[in-house]
């Protein structure tokens, strides 16, 4: 890469500031409606100094108790303000001394579950907000189930509205233990449980004398101690082909490395055909590259004159994923229109896609109570989760439970609408 001289840090201040900006984490805030998710984010933006001048005065105007209505910072649709509820997820940014946070606000209403999942699917970690007076409610439970389905297990619990109980420990302990019990059901362990008041700013940036008995981290400290997501470059190579461009007579295979790395001269397996190809060049505009790593969008050329197209996956020769035409999976149904036996679906997993059928629904589960609604079901409703057997018209490369995420995750399209998400649990070997 040809870099202009401006890229080099011109002073210590610049290089320090660069270092501060280079790490970031995406956090989704989830929980039941009215437990204070948007308010918490608004307050975090204020405490971290991220609000532009004039915004605080804007939201304080017209407040009944003189305290700003923090949620107004996030709820920008007129419908959201009139109804005092978040409809779609949104994002905001703030920085602490150690990194930049991208905060995703997720709506708490059941009817907006697809918006909550859209927000949560982009996150590295979650804050689960629970009202200390109300305790664990329907969407608290459902959101935990969705986090588990999305594979998002890095979590902080914030017990909110501590001002309503005078900062007392008793109510906090009671709610805290019921949240921990819920998380155990979903096989999740929080990093910590913090008593807060978003409205008054308790235990966010600093300790509050009203909660003197609490000696754990503040919410900012808890955020800063969250681990970074796992390094994808050390996993086996998965390179789903996104497209093939013909430029000046050369065929350039483009795509994003989902995990692992690629080096020039390396031999790779091309799925689902199983052929072996050798990497001739790695292509990035105006760069001379001999290797590339996870999450890079690159191009490459291969030595063999093989036909390669979108949907093929180039993989590590020794640790390839499995090409499967049928597999077991967990799915969560998001679309208002549910599923009924016989519906034709399209499955997409990275750039792979195939028409498919839900062959069998082993168990249909209520995502809030975690109760089995029905065994061997013939339909699924919105917000339900299920254990299913999927069968595909064309085999695709998938990964089983416990292996890398990118080829375990898929979505189901029904009538052109992204209707469900799912993860592969097990895939039988294709008969030779």
């Amino acid at each position: 890469m040809l870099l202009p001289p401006a890229f080099l840090p011109s002073s210590e201040i610049t290089s320090l500031a660069r270092a501060m900006d280079t790490e970031w984490l995406r956090i989704v805030v989830v929980g039941h409606v009215d437990h204070g998710k948007s308010s918490l984010i608004g307050r975090l933006l204020h405490e971290s100094g991220a609000l532009p001048d004039g915004r605080l005065e804007e939201i304080a105007r017209g407040a009944q108790d003189g305290l700003p209505e923090w949620a107004l910072l996030l709820d920008h649709f007129s419908e959201e303000r009139e109804q005092e509820r978040t409809i779609d997820s949104t994002q905001a940014f703030f920085a602490t001394a150690s990194r930049v946070y991208r905060i995703i606000d997720a709506p708490g209403h059941r009817e907006f579950l697809k918006n909550m999942v859209t927000g949560a699917a982009q996150a590295d970690a979650a804050i689960l907000v629970v009202d200390v007076e109300a305790g664990v409610l329907e969407q608290t439970r459902r959101h935990v189930a969705m986090l588990a389905m999305l594979g998002l297990r890095c979590l902080i619990v914030a017990i909110n509205k501590m001002d309503r109980v005078g900062g007392k420990r008793g109510p906090f302990d009671a709610v805290s233990s019921s949240v921990l019990a819920l998380l155990r059901q979903a096989d999740m362990t929080p990093q910590c449980v913090v008593p807060i008041s978003a409205k008054h700013g308790w235990e966010l940036a600093g300790h509050a004398p009203e909660i003197g008995w609490y000696d754990g981290p503040t919410l900012f400290e808890a955020l800063d101690s969250l681990p970074k997501p796992a390094h994808l470059s050390s996993q086996p190579l998965r390179f789903p082909v996104q497209d093939v461009y013909e430029i000046n007579g050369r065929k350039i295979i483009v795509g994003r490395i989902e995990s692992g790395r690629i080096a020039r001269g390396e031999s790779l397996m091309c799925l689902p055909t199983g052929q072996t190809v050798r990497v001739a060049t790695i292509e990035k505009f105006m760069e001379d590259r001999t290797s590339a790593k996870a999450l890079e969008s690159i191009g490459l050329t291969i030595e063999e004159p093989l036909h390669v197209e979108r949907g093929m996956v180039l993989c590590d020769l020794k640790q390839p994923p499995r090409a499967a035409g049928q597999f077991e999976a967990n799915v969560f149904w998001l679309a208002r229109n549910g599923w009924a036996r016989g519906d034709s679906l399209l499955l997409r997993c990275t750039t792979q896609q195939s028409p498919c059928q839900i062959e069998r629904v082993r168990r249909r589960v209520n995502s809030s109570t975690f109760e089995v609604v029905e065994d061997d079901a013939s339909h699924l409703d919105a917000t339900e989760v299920a254990e299913v057997v999927l069968s595909l018209d064309q085999p695709i490369a998938v990964e089983e439970f416990g292996r890398g995420k990118p080829l375990r995750r898929f979505v189901l399209i029904k009538n052109g609408e992204l209707s469900a998400g799912g993860t592969v649990t097990s895939a039988p070997r294709l008969a030779k």
Binding site: F7, L51, P52, H76, I87, S233, F285, K293, S297, L418
Partner: protein, 280 residues
């Protein structure tokens, strides 16, 4: 063997930097837009964001864009914008489409208010151009941190035949699987820079040496932070005369980016109204 030494090169490679992560994700989205639609164009206002988007498109396609760039010309842009545009069209070998309302050449059009002016000169000009060129997908450089309404956008955001944005029922978007089923007379807005902050754009401009119009640089203690039509843009007080100085200024600024843009502020929910009518 050469491949072994190549591998050892990267064994201790750090994670991607935040700018690399943003760049690679944007390129993925741009290539996805190209792969999923047949007729696409990138909207280029000649501002820093859309010039960055054009730059990323050049990277995605190894130098030359395989689709046109569209400039919505209201006839009220700064003269620097036209000069910069024409220079870069030649230098980057761009296929330029100019979208213009019939009323753009009127000397003093009698629009009732800014909502009507933006809607006629921008949204309606865009409607006409889309109908003429039958574009199915438009790439736009909007960012979440510009405005609370834009923060709620999707990467792939469908519009109906009347250009309406059904913001109360947006499609689910998970694991980089995007809505593509637009159907007749509809189009999809694609937002590759949605995750970028203003500061990220400037740091990237700084890193890559992306050319930007001179209006952004301070002269006599004032500079433009956001650029649109000349009558509706106010410069901010600033001494930042270089890209480095702008980056430093933004690290500490507490002034909203679009504070100098008149059309956002005329009425409550102005941005929502503009956008629900098809505004960018």
């Amino acid at each position: 063997m050469s491949d072994l030494s190549d591998l050892s090169d990267v064994s201790d490679a750090p994670d991607l930097s935040d700018l690399d992560e943003l760049e690679n994700k944007s390129i993925y989205i741009i290539r996805e837009a190209y792969s999923r639609f047949r007729r696409r164009a990138v909207l280029w206002s000649i501002g820093k964001d859309s010039t960055t988007l054009v730059w990323l498109c050049r990277k995605a396609f190894f130098g030359r864009l395989p689709f046109p760039v569209m400039h919505i010309d209201t006839g009220r842009k700064f003269s620097e914008i036209y000069e910069f545009r024409n220079r870069k069209v030649a230098e980057w070998d761009l296929d330029l489409v100019v979208a213009q309302s019939d009323r753009a050449s009127e000397q003093a059009p009698s629009f009732a208010d800014k909502l009507e002016c933006c809607t006629e000169l921008k949204t309606n000009a865009l409607k006409r151009a889309i109908a003429e060129h039958k574009f199915e997908a438009l790439l736009l450089a909007i960012r979440r941190d510009e405005h609370g309404i834009r923060a709620k956008e999707r990467f792939f955001s469908p519009r109906d035949a009347e250009f309406r944005w059904n913001y109360l029922d947006q499609p689910a978007e998970i694991w980089d699987q995007y809505a593509t089923g637009a159907g007749e007379d509809t189009h999809v807005r694609i937002h590759p820079l949605l995750d970028w902050r203003e500061l990220d754009v400037w740091r990237y401009v700084q890193r890559e040496g992306i050319p930007v119009v001179s209006l952004y640089f301070a002269r006599n203690g004032r500079r433009y932070r956001s650029i649109g039509c000349e009558p509706c843009c106010q410069p901010i007080a600033s001494n930042a005369a270089t890209i480095d100085a702008i980056v430093e200024e933004l690290r500490t600024s507490r002034i909203a980016e679009r504070s100098g843009r008149a059309q956002d502020k005329e009425q409550a929910f102005m941005m929502q109204k503009l956008r629900s009518l098809g505004y960018m």
